[in-house]
């Protein structure tokens, strides 16, 4: 009962001219207040669609969404009207998008865009909203927030724009923030700064955070628990340390070893062979079998179930690494 967000059997499909794309196939996940979870996977595995579905931001048509349960903070999101969702979005749950330049309005100053948040969700006057916005910019480490308040998005650097988005997401102190690849478009040095800001604000405000990324090194820096997604299904779920020290799914292991290391001396980059299969033509059996080094006949024929393997871990694999 103490879960902030509870999603059971979430499915999203897109009917297209070339067939039905099953973007998300029965995802279960839950988030406790104040914790940071990560959803990891390659492009096209359905992680962004999952997050948009939880915010009810998928436009329908074309998307069709279905779930057995989707509760947030005691409210059943499935039954809320669009008008009620507008009150929740930004106030109780908000989102940080990947590309800050397209997420911000180019013809409005960033100050005005921040003001909008306060004026929509609280009873602040314009003047109060302005000082609140400047304070929010200050909290995310934008230098000279009084001057920056009057800047347009194009006048800021990529890292600064991402900070503005973070300021906007934290403005009303929501209970849950979904960050969709918040640092992918940034340089490594700026990435480190932005992640530090994000983590500091998350801890100070006790906000729950869903971090969506393809980069496990970002996850190692931030998350408490990790869900690994592949082709619309969760293939592994584990607490951070367990996942990183003893990955059980071959896909997780592949993702882990593909991160370039500074320390080891090998001269080749470890790769997962092939590409993510097209969502129109998913393979039979286990979706990962076409790229898996441990594939057997059973894997080609039967999709493994997501089973509880103890220690708060779930796994979808016939042949887990490191024994049963």
């Amino acid at each position: 009962m103490n879960e902030l967000l509870n999603v059971r059997n979430l499915k999203v499909i897109f009917p297209t001219e070339r067939g039905i794309v099953r973007a998300v196939e029965g995802v279960d996940l839950h988030v406790k207040p104040g914790e940071c979870i990560a959803i990891v996977g390659e492009s096209g595995c359905g992680k962004s669609v999952t997050s948009l579905a939880m915010m009810k931001l998928l436009s329908s048509p074309p998307a069709l969404m279905q779930a057995d349960e989707m509760t947030f903070d005691g409210k059943n999101l499935l039954q809320l009207s669009e008008k009620q969702m507008l009150d929740i979005r930004g106030k109780d749950m908000s989102m940080i998008f990947q590309d800050a330049l397209t997420a911000l309005n180019p013809v409005m100053t960033i100050g005005r865009q921040l003001d909008e948040m306060f004026m929509r969700h609280t009873n602040m006057t314009r003047k109060e909203a302005m000082s609140a916005s400047i304070n929010a910019l200050h909290l995310v480490g934008v230098p000279g927030p009084e001057r920056r308040y009057f800047d347009y998005p194009h006048q800021l650097s990529g890292g600064m724009r991402q900070r503005v988005l973070i300021a906007m997401a934290f403005a009303i102190k929501p209970k849950l923030i979904i960050a969709d690849e918040p640092t992918t478009a940034l340089d490594v040095t700026i990435q480190a700064q932005v992640l530090d800001v994000l983590r500091k604000l998350q801890k100070e405000n006790g906000t729950a955070l869903i971090l969506i990324t393809h980069d496990l090194s970002v996850v190692a820096h931030m998350a408490d628990r990790v869900y690994v997604m592949y082709c619309g299904k969760i293939v592994e779920h584990a607490p951070l340390r367990d996942l990183f020290t003893h990955p059980k799914h071959p896909y997780t292991q592949g993702l882990l070893s593909s991160v370039p290391h500074l320390s080891d001396e090998s001269n080749r980059f470890v790769q997962i062979p092939d590409n993510v299969p097209s969502p129109l033509k998913k393979p039979s059996g286990c979706y990962f079998h076409t790229r898996c080094a441990y594939c057997t006949q059973e894997c080609k024929e039967r999709m493994p179930r997501l089973t509880d393997i103890g220690g708060d871990r779930m796994l979808r694999c016939h042949h887990p690494l490191g024994g049963e």
Binding site: E42, S43, G44, P143, S157, G158, G159, M160, D187, V188, T189, I190, Q191, A192, Q193, L195, D196, H214, D215, L216, S217, V218, A220, H221, L240, R241, F244, T245, G254, L255, L256, S258, V259, P260, H261, L262, S263, S266, N267, R268, F269, V270, Q271, I272, P273, N275, V276
Partner: protein, 329 residues
Amino acid sequence: MSDNNTLLRTENLCVWFPVRRALPFGQKRYVKAVDNVSITIKKGETFGLVGESGCGKSTLANTLLGMQKPTDGKVIFKGQDLNALSNKEFKEARRDMQMIFQDPFSSLDPRWDVYRLISEPMYIRGGYTKEQMEAEVLRLLHLVGLNEDDLHRYPSEFSGGQRQRIGIARAISLHPDFLVCDEPVSALDVSVHAQILNLLMELQQELNMTYLFISHNLAVVKDLCKNLCVMYLGQVMEAGDTQTIFHNPLHPYTRSLLSAVLSVNLDEKRERMVLNGDIPIPIDAPRGCRFCTRCPFASARCFQETPQLTPQGENHLVACHFPGIGMEK
């Protein structure tokens, strides 16, 4: 300096862009995108160029390929000064130098199929019959790990990694000696990085090419490059042998870049040095050391006097007044 092993070198290369003046009689100002850079790239090696966005990496690459005229200094490719060549000679020389772009989504024309994309350089060069061209495109497709089924598909049908393979096939279609890879993996998923980097390494061995590899992530460069050059605001901060720089980084900027690389090893303890602020706007770059505004160890001298690139041991150059300052040990 210029021996037979050198493929390309620059001599005090400067690229300055004039800034429009606020008043007609105001002082003329410049963005010094590349300022006094001298590098030497040897035949068959992979030369790494590292730095944040806005440090002049891409401008330098464009200048090396002759797409940007230098304000001062020379680019010498295979013993000839690129900017002294006639148009015809330049076109000849340019055939031997090609480029792989960062974003495989915008560098491929969405209305062209794979065959047309890859054959375009051959078409421009001329002298191929239709059969030759087709055979050549197929050979290139196999070389980069695609197959003939892909020949008449459009870029939108491919994933990011596959698109980058198409871009690579196009770049090597005229058998260049020199290939500039401008952040070839930073727009891709981490899991695809390895595929593309391994492909580039295989192709280099097979086709005997020289790479200039541009990146902002030192972890990617480490295994790929023999020599390395770290740039900041248009100037070289540290240069030399990759292994030496990784084991003994002497410039504070190099160390901050190293510490910014996140690791998947939860127990690894490394020096954390997160820089404050962004790279400054390079109009009227600061006097003294370019890095002084963000350097945690900057002292009065750093604001007054520009440090010169000075040798610190064999094949290791550092532009810092206090190399190795504040290092543990």
